[in-house]
Every structure is written in structure tokens, then in C-alpha cells.
Amino acid sequence: MDQDVPSFALEVRGLTKSFEKPAVDGLDLSVRTGEFYTLLGPNGAGKTTTLRMITGLLKPDRGSIAVFGIDALADPVAAKQITAWLSEEPMIYDKLTPMEYLEFVAGLWSVDSRLAAARARELIGWLGLETHANDRCEALSRGMRQKVALAGALLHEPRLIILDEPFTGLDAGSARLVRSVLRERVHAGCSVIMTTHILDVAERMADRIGVMVAGRFLAEGNLDDLRRQAGAGDGDLEDTFLTLLETGAAKRAVVA
């Protein structure tokens, strides 16, 4: 690996955010360069809030965020330059075509126009959107819209890809395509951090998994680590995850 590349793509320390009640509570999280990291947790665990703070969409109350060594709170523009954000709801414009959308995204990230055009054509082909490249996005299905948004996220060749429930509403073929694109990016040296409720995807794709409850980590590591922490034997991720939640809930009840 290149010596100039920091070993951590993302380092989060003591991250805290409260709305009416604490959403993220002193979270420490590290994602290595070239690692696929998945955040799991029940609804309201603080996963999306964590990712939104990392992306710069929400301001933390306390804590620090470093993206490839760049302090994302002190220099958000530099951190955003190498980051991509893809949310559950595709962030696209109905009245633009996929190619026009990619042109707009290239403008926002100041990607050279020739390079952007070449990458856009490549991504459109890769994601199977050639026939719809010049149709307005309002005519596209949900899966296609999500693929357009993914193309936009990858256009500037980000080093850290942050995904919030990217597989929601995708059909089997589209989900497989998105998975293969993400895997390819990780092989190319990108780091990915993703939330999902589809445990099968997390089990197959993630190098490490963090299980969050009430804004904190309940457990973290690869599947074997999680099994050990849960004491769930050789069960799959679903069994391990549910056991972790049950034991975590029991512990919290005892503390309360």
C-alpha cells in the first residue's frame, strides 16, 4: 500500500448528537483504508444520524471526525471533496436526464469536463442505464433512480463512500449490480461505510460490522467476533444480531 495513504479512511472520536434525547452518544468508530464497514442496529439506533454527521449534513454536539486525516469539522470542503454520500431516497432531479444530472454533479465536485464525460458514459454503461441516459429522471423506476444516484456518487471517484440503506426498494438484479459495483470500488482501494437492514447483504459484503443501539456500539468486529460477543455459537448474522440485541436489552434493563 502507498505510504502516503493514511491507514484509516475514517476516524470518529467521542461523537455526540442530541435532539430531544441523545441520538448518538460518545461514539468511537474507525474504518480502515480499503475496508467495507457495515453499521447495523434497530430503528432509531442512531446509524443515519452518525452517517449524516460524518458527511457534514448534521453538526455534532461534541467529538471529532477525520476523513483520511482531514479534520472534517475544521475543513468540511476538503473532506467532502473525497467523500460520496448516497441516501435511501435517491437525491436526483426529476426534470434532468441522468447525463445532465451527472454533468451537474461533475460541476459541484469541479471534475474536469472531459474526464467527467468519459466517466459518466462508463458509469451509465456499467449500471445498464444506456437506453435511459437521455430520458428525464421522472420517467425512471425507483431502482433506476437509485442507480443514477449511485453513478453520481461515484463520478468524482471518492475515496470514502457513505451509504444509508442503499438497497431499499431495489429488485434482485439491481441489488446485485450495486453490490458488484461497491465490491469493485473496495478492490480499487475505496473505503465503504454502509447501513442496512438486509443482514444477508451485510454478512456477505462487510469486512467488519458495528452493531449500534441507543447511539452506542453494542458490539463490533467481523462475524466471528460478533458471535463470540453474543455467545450465539455458529449462527448466521441474523441470529447473532438478534441475540446481541436481546442480551443488550437485558443488560440495559439490569443497569436501569
Binding site: 426534470k95 460541476g107 469536463s113 428525464r136
Partner: protein, 532 residues
């Protein structure tokens, strides 16, 4: 407790939703009855004060009605009625095309016509309530100066609401049958806007042609009109006579209106379910497909953002129609300008305030679209662009449109009256900048399709935007006569903008050091996060 699926049950359900929505709006999104009541009292006091300022200089309001008085009252009713038909058409269209809960209800085993009957009734009540709320201060002041007979005007306004809704239903269903569900949504909204503007603009054109002034009152009180209108006893004057306290006329007007609305609902209600089902398969907007391939041009984030705003605006026929409808009101001043140029006379003093108000209103709408109506706020927020840069690009996009539309007017004015052109240019810039700033400070994420309802997202922003536009227009109107008075009016406009900033959510976002302010800032952040 009413049985599920009955009209009464639907009415209770709708009533609860409307009440909560209204409470949320009136109490500044806090759902507090006390705050809502205080808000209503404050608005009522303001409107009564305004009505007093407008009406107190009119002399004898208690005199028996003559032709001129009846003509003015009838014209006011026609103006009010056209606005009601316009509002009702917009609401009827929304009742059929808004899919918020229709899919749930249409999928259930209850008769859908009952829900629509309730919704049509709710539209009638809403239109009447809104019209009465706006007219009440004027009616109260008129009855104070001119006697209790003016209180009959409440009945006439209610009758107008019934007729307006009946006409709106007939027009909407007519459009639905002739051009089909796909085109009706857009066409109905355009027709509604044209109806809303047609009477006001028509009378202005007639006044310009006859007297060289856009003043409607000058035309309505003229000798020429008195010659052509019917005698005082004519049936045409019954609504006006009812307004002036003739109880027999009032009973007749109310009776005819009630029969008209009941008949329309009775005829159309059984088909409402079919209409709603037909609209279910229609996309949200009618669009042309674009087959031209895209060329990636060298660009900067600011330029990309500006271009995106203009492209989105141009490509949405509904938004274009809504925006252009505001420009309909510029037709009379454009006509007056052309006439002045042709005749060599100068009517520039009348033009300047109209241009300024129109610029303020248009800038407010465009700024709302660019700032609050952003479809992908997360994309912009996650891009390596500073907030200042993104905001500047959006403001430039708004100001660019204003310059393109109002620039030709100012340039044309330059040939007739250079000083007026300078005043108009400054006024247009001031009003547009004020409206844009207010929209930015009171931004709240919403869908672009909610443009028509943008005024309901913040009453404070709506009032501040309108007041600042009127103040800039006042400054523009006073400038040729007195520089000092114009300056005072201009300072008043700036004070309104400063006041809006002082109470805006944006200010609380930027300074949140104290405990309570920190709490308020947090609440705003929670609110904004909820929109994302």
C-alpha cells in the same frame, strides 16, 4: 361516536386533520391553542387597522345606493368572486390529484364518494371562511361608519363562496371530460389563475383605454359607465343590494347560491370515485421527453447550480405557468407603457410601483423554489461547496430571472422618463433582494409542487415579504414628489426586512449561546432534520 365509513365519520376525520394543520400553522408549528389564539387576535387587529386606514376617508357610507355605488360594489363582488372561483378550482383539482391518502381510502371497502362529498363540503367551508376572514375587517369598519346594514355582506360573501365552488366544480369536471385526466391538472390550474386575474386585469385595460390610467375606481365611477349600466331597480344589482342590507335581495342571493351548490354536488358526487381512480394513473406533471444527448461543458460549482435552477424552472410547465401567472398583472402596465410611448404622454409614476410589487412577488416565488424547493438538499450539502457559495449561486439565479423580465421595462421607461427608470430599477432591485432574503431566512424544506401553498409555511415570512414589497413600491411612488418621503418609506422597507431577520429561524441558528436560545436552535435543527 359515528359509524365507520359514513359521511359523519369522514367529516370527523377530515375535521381533525384540518384543525391540527391550522393549529400548527397559526401557532408557529407548536400546536398550542393559546399561541394560535394570540396569532388570530394579532392578525385580526392588524387587518381591522388596515381596513380603517383604507375606508375612513370615504364620506357618506350610509347614503341610499345609487348607480355608481351599486356599480362599485358589484365590481368588488365580481373581483372577489373571480378570486374565489380560482381558489376553489385549485382546491378541487388538488382534492382529486393529491394522492396523500387517496390510495388508502380507494383501496378500502368504503364508498369513496362519501369522502369526496365531505372534501367538497370542506372546500366550501374553507373558501367561505378564508373569504370572510379577509372581508370581515372591511365589513366591520363599514358597518361602524355606514350602519348595521353592511353586516348583510357576511351573507353575500358566503353566497359567493357557494357559487364559486359550484362553478369551479362544473369547470373542473368539464375539463376532465373534454381533455382527459392527464391534461386536466395543468389546464385547471392555468384556467384558475387566468380566472383569478382576468376581472382585475380586464377592468384595468378598460380604464387605461378610456382614461389613460389603470385606476379601476375611475372607470367604475365615470359618467360614461353610468349611461350604460341598468337602472337601480334591475335584478343585476341584487347581490350589491344584498350587500348593502336589502334583506329580500340577501335571501334571494343566498337561496339561489345554495340551490346551485347543492345541485352541482348532487349531480357530480356519484362520479367522484371514478374521477379519483382515473387520476391515479396520471404522472404528477405533464412533460415533454428530451432526446438530445448531453455535452459536458467546463463549469464551476456556482455556474452548475445557476444553470440547474434555470433548467428545472424552464422544464416544468406547471411551475412556468404558476410563475407566468404572476406576470399577467404586468400586462396592463406594459400596455400603459406602450401607450405612453406612442402618445408621448407620461404615465411613468403609475408604472413604477406596479413594477416594484410584481418584482417582489416574483422574486419571492423564485427564491422559494430555489431555496426551500431544492429537490436534492443532501446532494448540495454533501458537495465540496461552501454554504455561502451555494446560496450566492441560487440568489444569482433568482436575480437573473428578475433582470431578464424587468430589465426591458426599465429600459423602455428610460426613453420616456429617465428618473422614473432609475427609481424603478432601484425599487425592483430592493423589492427582489428583500423578498429573496426573507425566503432565505425562513427556508423550510418542501416539494416544488407546493409552490402554491408556500404562503402557508410561514405567515410571518408571507407578511414580511408582502409588506416590504409594498413599502418599496410606496417609496417608488413617492420618489418623484418628495425625496425625503421616499427615503422614509425606503427606510421603513429596510426596517421590515431587519425585523424579519430578527425573528427568523436563520438568526436563531447563527447565535445560540444562551440556554433557551440553544434549545430553540436545537428545535429548529430537529425540524429541519425531519424534512430531510
Amino acid at each position: 361516536m359515528s359509524r365507520a365509513g359514513t359521511i359523519l365519520w369522514f367529516a370527523r376525520h377530515e375535521g381533525r386533520l384540518v384543525w391540527r394543520d391550522w393549529l400548527w400553522l397559526m401557532s408557529g408549528r407548536r400546536r398550542s391553542v393559546r399561541r394560535a389564539a394570540l396569532g388570530v387576535i394579532a392578525i385580526a387587529l392588524f387587518l381591522h387597522g388596515f381596513a380603517y386606514l383604507v375606508l375612513h376617508r370615504y364620506g357618506d357610507l350610509s347614503r341610499p345606493p345609487d348607480q355608481r355605488m351599486l356599480a362599485v360594489v358589484t365590481a368588488m363582488l365580481a373581483l372577489y368572486g373571480s378570486l374565489m372561483v380560482s381558489q376553489a378550482m385549485e382546491r378541487v383539482t388538488r382534492a382529486f390529484y393529491g394522492r396523500t391518502d387517496l390510495d388508502l381510502i380507494l383501496a378500502s371497502p368504503v364508498a369513496a364518494w362519501r369522502l369526496f362529498a365531505v372534501r367538497i363540503g370542506a372546500i366550501a367551508v374553507t373558501i367561505a371562511a378564508m373569504s370572510l376572514a379577509l372581508a370581515a375587517p372591511f365589513i366591520d369598519v363599514l358597518s361602524w361608519f355606514g350602519g348595521v346594514r353592511w353586516l348583510a355582506a357576511y351573507g353575500v360573501i358566503a353566497a359567493l363562496a357557494m357559487v364559486g365552488l359550484a362553478l369551479a366544480m362544473i369547470l373542473t369536471v368539464g375539463l376532465f371530460r373534454t381533455i382527459g385526466p392527464r391534461r386536466t391538472r395543468l389546464c385547471a390550474q392555468i384556467v384558475a389563475a387566468i380566472i383569478g386575474a382576468s376581472f382585475a386585469i380586464g377592468v384595468q385595460f378598460a380604464a387605461i383605454l378610456s382614461y389613460g390610467t389603470p385606476s379601476r375606481v375611475a372607470l367604475l365611477q365615470s359618467e360614461a359607465l353610468t349611461k350604460y349600466v341598468p337602472d337601480v331597480g334591475s335584478i343585476l344589482w341584487w347581490p350589491a343590494r344584498a350587500m348593502l342590507g336589502d334583506l329580500l335581495a340577501l335571501a334571494a342571493v343566498l337561496g339561489v347560491s345554495a340551490v346551485m351548490l347543492t345541485g352541482t354536488v348532487y349531480i357530480f358526487t356519484p362520479r367522484f370515485g371514478q374521477f379519483a381512480l382515473a387520476t391515479g394513473g396520471v404522472p404528477q406533471s405533464v412533460t415533454r421527453q428530451r432526446r438530445r444527448s448531453c455535452r459536458f461543458c467546463k463549469t464551476s460549482p456556482t455556474r452548475a447550480l445557476r444553470r440547474k435552477e434555470w433548467t428545472l424552472l424552464l422544464r416544468d410547465p406547471w411551475l412556468v405557468s404558476q410563475t407566468l401567472m404572476q406576470l399577467l398583472y404586468l400586462l396592463p402596465p406594459a400596455f400603459l407603457l406602450w401607450r405612453s410611448f406612442y402618445n408621448g404622454s407620461s404615465s411613468s409614476a403609475l408604472l413604477v410601483p406596479i413594477l416594484i410589487i410584481a418584482a417582489g412577488q416574483l422574486a419571492g416565488s423564485l427564491a422559494w423554489l430555489a431555496i426551500s424547493g431544492e429537490d436534492a438538499p443532501d446532494l448540495i450539502a454533501s458537495a465540496p461547496v461552501t454554504t455561502a457559495c451555494a446560496v450566492r449561486a441560487k440568489i444569482e439565479a433568482v436575480m437573473g430571472v428578475i433582470a431578464v423580465i424587468f430589465g426591458p421595462f426599465v429600459v423602455a421607461l428610460l426613453f420616456i422618463a429617465p428618473i422614473s427608470a432609475l427609481i424603478a430599477g432601484l425599487g425592483v432591485a430592493g423589492a427582489a433582494a428583500s423578498a429573496t432574503s426573507i425566503q432565505f431566512w425562513f427556508r423550510a424544506q418542501a416539494k416544488r409542487s407546493q409552490l402554491r401553498r408556500r404562503h402557508t409555511s410561514s405567515l410571518t415570512a408571507t407578511f414580511a415579504e408582502a409588506l416590504s414589497s409594498f413599502s418599496w413600491a410606496g417609496a417608488g411612488a413617492l420618489a418623484p414628489a418628495s425625496t425625503w418621503l421616499a427615503l422614509i418609506e425606503g427606510l421603513f422597507a429596510l426596517a421590515i426586512v431587519a425585523g424579519a431577520w430578527a425573528i427568523s429561524p436563520a438568526r436563531h441558528r447563527t447565535r445560540c449561546s444562551g440556554g433557551s436560545q440553544q434549545h430553540r436552535a436545537k428545535r429548529i435543527e430537529v425540524f429541519e432534520a425531519g424534512y430531510r
